[in-house]
């Protein structure tokens, strides 16, 4: 059973890895852009799932980190600093810091309060973003060029960029895999399962949850840095609450508390959007009920429909 699932997953990654080759052979480089964007959202979704699925922390403000990561690339670029070696670490650090501050306040609450307080912070950042004229306000800013890596890695090359994103996604999944099985991940998952018990056996859970929150925020920031490079554009609308909702939908659709579910969710959600919207302008009238059906009949998300997914992931 497990091997059937492993094969499916491997096949999935092979497909993702071969997209550029197929696109080149078929002379359809567009699919490079489409799947790159999908993978960027998959990175955001996987990072959200670390706290949402594994840690039980329902953050409704994940888009805030996406936005911060995007600003961390676009603002230096605006002042002429194009080095990815500055921008990307900055994106990780700033979004992580923001997550530290937001988490330190939010994690004192739980349940619906937690959902709403994370939303509140994201909305504050959104309104801040659209008010800062120097950095484009609502119009946003054009990224003059993609992040530079001293000529070693050239993101202007669509294939190189694709494999960079692919590499980041695979690395994130690998890191995630290590992390959820390491001491830290065990603490996070157990705290979701039974937090009073965790405290009773001696874990000060707050600091671990906060650390997970920061890691997830940094992951979101990285996705934001990639997204501005993808779009070559920064806009505060990356931080709008509907964007947080989209990412959350990808996670739930794909399967919470699994590593690969969010990837699946991002692929399904964005591909459906692309395909249905080419078919009819009323595509949302189809997508909406589809989501309802997934909730009603695929209880563990799309991941649960994979062969051999009966066994728990993690």
């Amino acid at each position: 059973m497990r091997s059937a699932r492993a094969l499916t997953l491997l096949a999935g990654f092979l497909v993702l890895g071969l997209v550029p080759v197929v696109a080149a052979l078929a002379n359809q480089p567009f699919y490079l852009d489409l799947f790159r964007r999908i993978m960027i959202f998959a990175i955001a979704a996987v990072s959200l799932d670390l706290i949402l699925g594994f840690g039980g922390m329902v953050s409704f403000g994940h888009a805030a980190y996406l936005g911060i990561g995007a600003y961390a690339v676009a603002i230096p670029a605006f002042y002429g600093i194009h080095s990815g070696l500055v921008q990307w670490p900055l994106a990780l650090a700033l979004s992580g810091l923001a997550a530290l501050a937001i988490g330190a306040v939010s994690l004192r609450t739980s349940g619906v309060s937690f959902i709403m307080i994370t939303l509140a912070f994201a909305q504050m950042l959104y309104y801040l973003g659209i008010s800062i004229n120097a950095w484009g306000a609502d119009d946003g800013m054009r990224l003059a060029r993609r992040s530079q890596f001293g000529g070693v890695v050239d993101l202007a090359n669509a294939y190189v960029f694709y494999y960079v994103v692919f590499g980041v996604l695979v690395a994130l999944l690998w890191l995630g895999h290590r992390l959820i099985h390491a001491r830290f991940g065990v603490v996070i998952r157990a705290a979701k399962s039974n937090e009073p018990r965790m405290r009773a056996i001696g874990f000060a859970t707050f600091r671990y949850k906060l650390a997970a929150f920061v890691i997830a925020g940094a992951g979101g920031g990285l996705a934001g840095a990639l997204l501005t490079n993808q779009t070559e554009y920064l806009t505060p609308s990356y931080m709008h609450w509907t964007r947080s909702g989209d990412i959350m939908v990808m996670v739930i659709l794909g399967g919470m508390g699994t590593l690969y579910g969010p990837v699946l969710g991002a692929v399904a959600f964005l591909l459906l959007e692309d395909i249905l919207s080419a078919w009819t302008v009323h595509w949302q009238v189809v997508l909406g009920p589809l989501l309802v059906l997934v909730v009603l009949y695929a209880r563990r998300g799309l991941y649960g429909l994979l062969p051999g997914a009966g066994a728990r992931d993690g």
Partner: protein
């Protein structure tokens, strides 16, 4: 006389108008087993909650091993050597029995900001956990998901998790609740084996269990300790019999 391991003074906790514990005083000497008995709603679980740090008392102090721990949160008290089991089974149902206990070991084996090595590969966690499982008689069930263990086994797992934190004081909240006679017997044997090695505060309904294990008994009614003493003295105490053991004395 040396300072008792646990000393509680004037512990008071209110929920709205209800006084759940009312100026409770308790002392537990090192190595002693104290049973707290009383009818439902007498405030026993509230007492345990305050001792373990899950509830903040409205008044009173708790001294443990010579230090005032009244203001310390639960995890810190656990680190100081206070372990509790829960009245309603509280485990990690998705994890295996061994994982459950290993987690308790992990809590007391340095910090857990380790992101790389699989916890299951850490022998320093697994081996003590396995030994503790053996100790409570669950060795053969190590790989079973805790949620699918039988009720009695889950209660044993509770004890194992408490033991795995290497506590100086065990707070046991109704360890035989919901057990059949045979399971109760096994649990009593397990707890009897812990006597002397561990200091125990035991909250229990089952008089057989209480009289089998306790060195001393405190009786709580309506949030107050109405009597404390050796088992025989308690058994003979008329007030206790009337208030708790349910014998009606003609008015």
């Amino acid at each position: 006389m040396a300072e008792p391991l646990l000393a509680v003074r004037g512990l008071t906790k209110r929920f709205g108008g209800l006084v759940a514990t009312d100026r409770v005083d308790l002392e537990v000497a090192d190595g002693e087993t104290l049973a707290v008995i009383g009818p439902n709603g007498a405030g026993k679980t509230t007492l345990i909650g305050q001792l373990s740090g899950d509830l903040v008392p409205d008044a009173g102090t708790i001294r443990f091993a010579g230090e005032d721990v009244t203001a310390l949160p639960a995890p810190t008290r656990s680190q100081r050597g206070l372990a509790r089991s829960f009245q309603i089974t509280s485990i990690f149902p998705e994890f295996t029995a061994l994982d459950n206990v290993a987690l308790a070991v992990q809590a007391h084996a340095g910090h857990s900001f380790r992101f790389w090595t699989p916890a299951r590969a850490e022998r320093a966690l697994r081996e003590p956990a396995r030994a503790t499982l053996e100790q409570v008689g669950l060795g053969a069930r190590a790989a079973v998901a805790a949620g699918t263990l039988a009720h009695g086994e889950q209660r044993q797992l509770e004890i194992a998790m408490a033991l795995a934190t290497r506590p100086r004081l065990l707070l046991l909240d109704e360890p035989v609740a919901g057990m059949g006679a045979d399971e109760s017997q096994r649990m009593v044997q397990l707890l009897r084996a812990l006597r002397g090695h561990h200091t125990i505060v035991l909250v229990e309904h089952d008089m057989d269990v209480v009289f089998a294990l306790a060195d001393r008994i405190s009786v709580m009614v309506y949030g107050r300790v109405i009597a404390s003493g050796a088992p025989e003295a308690i058994r003979a105490n008329a007030e206790v019999r009337r208030a708790y053991l349910g014998e009606e004395i003609p008015a």
